[in-house]
Subunit: 196 residues, 4 copies
Amino acid sequence: MDKTERRLQILTNARDVFAKRGYHAAKIDEIVAAAGIARGTFYLYFHDKRAIFEEIVDNAFVRLGEAVVRVDTEDPTRAVGTQIEENIRRIVHALFADPATTKILLSDAVGLDPAFDRKLLVFYEAVGKLLESSLVDGQERGIVAEGDARVFAILSLGAMKEIMYQVVMRGLDFPEPRIVSEIFRFLSAGYLRVAR
Amino acid sequence: MDKTERRLQILTNARDVFAKRGYHAAKIDEIVAAAGIARGTFYLYFHDKRAIFEEIVDNAFVRLGEAVVRVDTEDPTRAVGTQIEENIRRIVHALFADPATTKILLSDAVGLDPAFDRKLLVFYEAVGKLLESSLVDGQERGIVAEGDARVFAILSLGAMKEIMYQVVMRGLDFPEPRIVSEIFRFLSAGYLRVAR
Amino acid sequence: MDKTERRLQILTNARDVFAKRGYHAAKIDEIVAAAGIARGTFYLYFHDKRAIFEEIVDNAFVRLGEAVVRVDTEDPTRAVGTQIEENIRRIVHALFADPATTKILLSDAVGLDPAFDRKLLVFYEAVGKLLESSLVDGQERGIVAEGDARVFAILSLGAMKEIMYQVVMRGLDFPEPRIVSEIFRFLSAGYLRVAR
Amino acid sequence: MDKTERRLQILTNARDVFAKRGYHAAKIDEIVAAAGIARGTFYLYFHDKRAIFEEIVDNAFVRLGEAVVRVDTEDPTRAVGTQIEENIRRIVHALFADPATTKILLSDAVGLDPAFDRKLLVFYEAVGKLLESSLVDGQERGIVAEGDARVFAILSLGAMKEIMYQVVMRGLDFPEPRIVSEIFRFLSAGYLRVAR
DNA sequence: AATGAATGAGGTTTCATTCAT
DNA sequence: GATGAATGAAACCTCATTCAT
């Protein structure tokens, strides 16, 4: 088994243990037992416990980042709405494809410590900024309502995070397409039909 | 200083330390130093570290629970929209009133361990159920769009959690009323004006 | 309630707690709760935990010491055998009269620490010396077999300690007179009827 | 050094520290210092302080149990008296061979707490039962005096315990064979030659 | 004299990390 | 490269004792 495979094997098992136990309750012992390696071997591949956890999170960030594609409001071949829906679909799909990592992202990595909080914030800010600029762009074209695009971005992100959190933590049993369409509908029209 | 005051003093300082450091990095030593008491005194008032943390979270749950009032769709004196907005306002206000606890709720208490995760889920489920039944009620009266009320509840909760998370973690500088009206608007109409 | 009574009340309750839990597991808290006094009050009457325990043991030593009466081999009115039996009877009676203290003596006070071990040894040595000198006296009068009187003393003491230990620890249900006569018989004639 | 040796090394040093200080005053720090290992290493081999102490006591029980051999009253090649004496000899020898453990057994393990008391009682009861059945057997053959065999067993056990206690605690300087013969003589004929 | 809240020394145990083999 | 025994820092918690009221 070559270095890369071995790394991946450790990474995968660590991910499962982190997802099952949470960061602190995940012991190196359990990770190496799951990976079928000796304790010392772990440290040949990862500097420390924190490092492997960060790598798991970072990889997830990369995968999620790749799922998000800038909406091209001028592309005549693909409707803006479709592009947005595609984005949602890809993100939801990436999260569904690896529930253990999703759980880590939405639960275990949260509130680990100030440094990690920062890392999460940076990622969410990056996603938020991307979304925000798309929204601003959309506002100029009249396909996004007037209002603070940054707030829209935050609220949208939160809505998506929460439903995935429920799926992963509670085992909420919704099929992917359903979740995608619900989110899309929610972002499109909200649900309140009242005056205040 | 009587027992109740002393308890409160410890509770308050512990809350700040937890908010600053996160659960695990918060050391009993720092809490007692902040409270200006001896280590032993701490254990006179709280069984252990976990207990005081739970108490902080439970108190927050109670306060938040009290902030939520069932929407009365038949009250002719208060428009439904106003009642909903009032709810949002009260919740946001409760979270704003104690940012340290809000940070604990939205960050430190998350992913602590499976038992605590369950506690959070139970609370969010209770809030969700309340919201959901209001929404179903609203749907019958035509003031809430057709669709899965449970999903609406989850998405709404997530949107609110996220914006408060940003306020508390990043210091997003939005005044309370602004946040309230943004959320209301978001829930009312979403922002996308596109077909897919 | 005057000082002496209060002291006695604490002493009695402490004795029961020590007997029930053993020295280390007996907490000052449990003692004061049993005595119905405040924690601080305890220290008005006893210097520390060790001191009250020592006092309990010392009192027992005094009572037991008083139970032992020198055997007068020249008294024509009381047979030596009767006098010895009387001694055994008084000792056994004293131990039976206060099972809690007996348990403390034979169990809790044992192996507490080197200093306390010394105290026990000193007491047993005093008893042993007394017994030994009686035995030497008896040997001169031909009513005690030849052999090392010191060893006889030790073996006799051990036999008595063990049967009382069984009575107190296991609840061996033997009536006092039975125990007295069994011991007497044992010391008189042993039980083996074999050559080696 | 392999695992078994290392365990033994820790066990031996712990035994000495327990014997020197008593259970509670024996600190893990002193044990590991004596064994020349780090604190953590101790916990690699033993679950906790209690566990290593129990193991020491249990090992002693096993060794002592092995020393006791059932007396065969029908063996024509070995006189019953000789067999009994052999038993005493083996037990005394086992206790002499490891004075530190003997001290632990007769002093430190006594009155540790109710659970441990129970353990000791169980062991002494097992030995007592064995002895008792031999005595009953002996009574049927007329080589043991009439009387309560159980009481005989208890008294004999106590006599042996006490003399070993004196040897180990006070450094009573009696050679092994002397102790064996004194006990045998004592069990055979007692020492009182009086009527009551 | 009585109280009981406060103290803080001290000990056990855990577990991430190192390093000799 | 792999191993796993060894390390030791670090943290929680207990509980006998003190002392202000």
